[in-house]
């Protein structure tokens, strides 16, 4: 256990060497200091661990700064309701918040909306044909909401799916960017999210460089979208590597 946590707690940030050159012109208009003292293009420290729940076929725990999420995966198992025969398997996603997840009790985001977003983000990455007639259930529980919840849930869910041995085309990594004034902030905390002008979230499969889900809110010009997308994709590939190493470690652990 101790060995696992020490190596997995690594920080990641999108190709620092490339971004450093870009940073000065962005910061010129205001000396922005982020609440947790990070750089504009620096992600929160990520901690990932598989096997958080014993009874599930696969599970994962993710902690990105203050955002803490547990995802468990059940199945493939028999589809519960009287559903029609289908050649491809079904994916069922459910996101819920604990009552103490947010500063004000019970004031949590639309969980139904998040569930459908999670479904769309994962659907493209799972080889549904590999488990016909059956259903895979993905249950996510947000223990603490500290900003960027959906990206954390999505990344954690893909780790749990891999842990459960569900066939995937690739791991799914997700990162969001907030736009405040002229600045783009990667991996925003809730404080930053509450006064953002716009947000962009990308869910992608890093080694295939394909996007499974993308949402944009607020007003964006095409060049800004381009910049934001590049930032997210860079961070996604870093996060993908961390997720991969976490899985490898879990797999090699018992043999030692």
């Amino acid at each position: 256990m101790a060995g696992k946590s020490s190596a997995a707690a690594a920080t990641y940030s999108p190709s620092l060497t490339g971004q450093r050159k870009k940073r000065p012109p962005i910061q010129t208009d205001s000396e922005w200091v982020r609440p947790d003292g990070r750089g504009l293009h620096q992600c929160r420290p990520a901690f990932l661990k598989t096997g958080a729940v014993n009874s599930a076929s696969g599970s994962a725990y993710a902690e990105f700064g203050n955002t803490k999420v547990i995802v468990s995966v059940f199945g493939p198992r028999e589809s519960k309701k009287a559903m029609m025969y289908s050649n491809a398997g079904r994916l069922n996603c459910n996101v819920s918040y604990t009552t103490f997840a947010s500063p004000v009790r019970g004031q949590t985001p639309e969980a139904k909306d998040l569930s459908s977003m999670l479904h769309k983000a994962l659907e493209g990455a799972i080889i549904l044909k590999s488990f016909p007639k059956t259903t895979v259930d993905v249950f996510a529980l947000v223990l603490e909401s500290g900003g960027g919840d959906l990206p954390v849930i999505t990344s954690c869910a893909s780790l749990a799916l891999a842990d459960a041995g569900i066939m995937l085309y690739d791991m799914v990594a997700s990162v969001s960017v907030s736009c405040i004034g002229k600045n783009l902030l990667i991996d925003p905390v809730s404080e930053e999210e509450s006064y953002q002008d716009g947000s962009l979230m990308i869910t992608c499969m890093p080694s295939r460089n394909e996007v499974t889900q993308m949402t944009v809110t607020g007003e964006w010009s095409t060049t800004k979208i381009n910049e934001g997308m590049q930032l997210c994709l860079d961070a996604c590939s870093k996060l993908g590597k961390i997720m991969r190493s976490c899985l490898k470690e879990a797999a090699s652990g018992p043999q030692d």
């Binding site: 999210e193 006064y195 002008d197 993308m214």
Partner: protein, 281 residues
């Protein structure tokens, strides 16, 4: 969802690759749009939009309420979409519920912009009457009457038309706390949204019908305002997309939206003129 034979599927796909779709449209042409405003007398504003066979109604109701303590100088807008099972049998029960939450969350993302209110289609601060005390609550309700693909675009157009038709009373707060109401003052809504659905193989099409939607691999819904800025983007459908393809779709959508905004403006103006004539009679 749609039972199509293999021949029909190939016909649709073949037509799209040759830039001639089953109903004779080109890839990026919209179906004829029909707009009617002021159809619900009980609402502050309402509109009905027909896009081919797709038929939706949007209504706007305004109520006085208290602003959210975190945003004391802003009004509140809530958007709900109802998919009636009369439109399509699959809308009955959970199927309809899922589709309506998807539609309402997409519309909310595009219309209400970022949390700070930047880039929003509706100017929330114009809905504030007394900071921190009283504001307008706008309830925007959409109803899908008949569905033949591209419901989101039709709803977007209907909401735009309903908002331009909306008149909310002007409220003045005087010292002795009696409010004086004068009707017929318009709510301001400056920017507006257009959606564009694309997908199917390697080609992009706009305004897909249900049959075409069943054949597409993935769809992207974009909302673009008059200045050509992107106000919202949602990817729908399961299949993956290359990031360069998304940028490509954005530029295609920008081009299509310019024409659509023009057409919609003239349709709404015509519908409102028609509405005024009826009032005089």
């Amino acid at each position: 969802m749609v039972g199509l034979s293999l021949g029909e599927q190939n016909f649709i796909k073949g037509g799209i690759s040759q830039d001639l779709r089953t109903d004779g449209r080109k890839r990026l042409t919209y179906r004829p749009i029909f707009v009617e405003t002021g159809i619900i007398p009980q609402a502050s504003g309402s509109a009905r939009v027909k896009l081919g066979v797709t038929d939706v109604i949007a209504s706007v109701k305004a109520e006085l309420g208290r602003p959210n303590p975190s945003y004391p100088d802003k009004g509140k807008v809530s958007i709900y979409v109802d998919c009636s099972p009369t439109a399509e049998p699959t809308f009955e029960g959970r199927g309809g519920e899922e589709f309506s939450t998807e539609l309402s969350s997409a519309l909310q993302k595009c219309l209400l912009g970022g949390k700070s209110g930047a880039g929003a289609g509706i100017d929330l601060s114009s809905l504030c009457i007394v900071g921190g005390k009283v504001c307008w609550d706008l309830y925007i309700d959409g109803l899908v009457v008949s569905s033949d693909g591209n419901v989101l675009d039709a709803l977007g157009a209907a909401i735009k038309a309903a908002l331009s038709n909306t008149a909310i009373p002007k409220v003045q707060v005087s010292a002795n706390a009696s409010s004086d109401e004068q009707p017929e003052v318009d709510v301001s809504d400056e920017e507006f949204l257009q959606f564009d659905t694309s997908g199917v193989g390697r080609h992009y099409i706009a305004d897909a019908t249900t049959a075409e939607e069943s054949q597409m691999s993935s769809a992207v819904s974009l909302s673009i305002n008059r200045q050509g800025q992107i106000c919202g983007l949602m990817k729908r459908g399961g299949a993956v997309l290359d990031s360069s393809m998304i940028l490509d779709m954005i530029s295609v959508a920008k081009h299509v939206s310019e024409q659509l905004i023009k057409r919609l403006d003239s349709e709404i103006a015509a519908a409102e003129a028609c509405d005024d004539d009826e009032m005089e009679l």
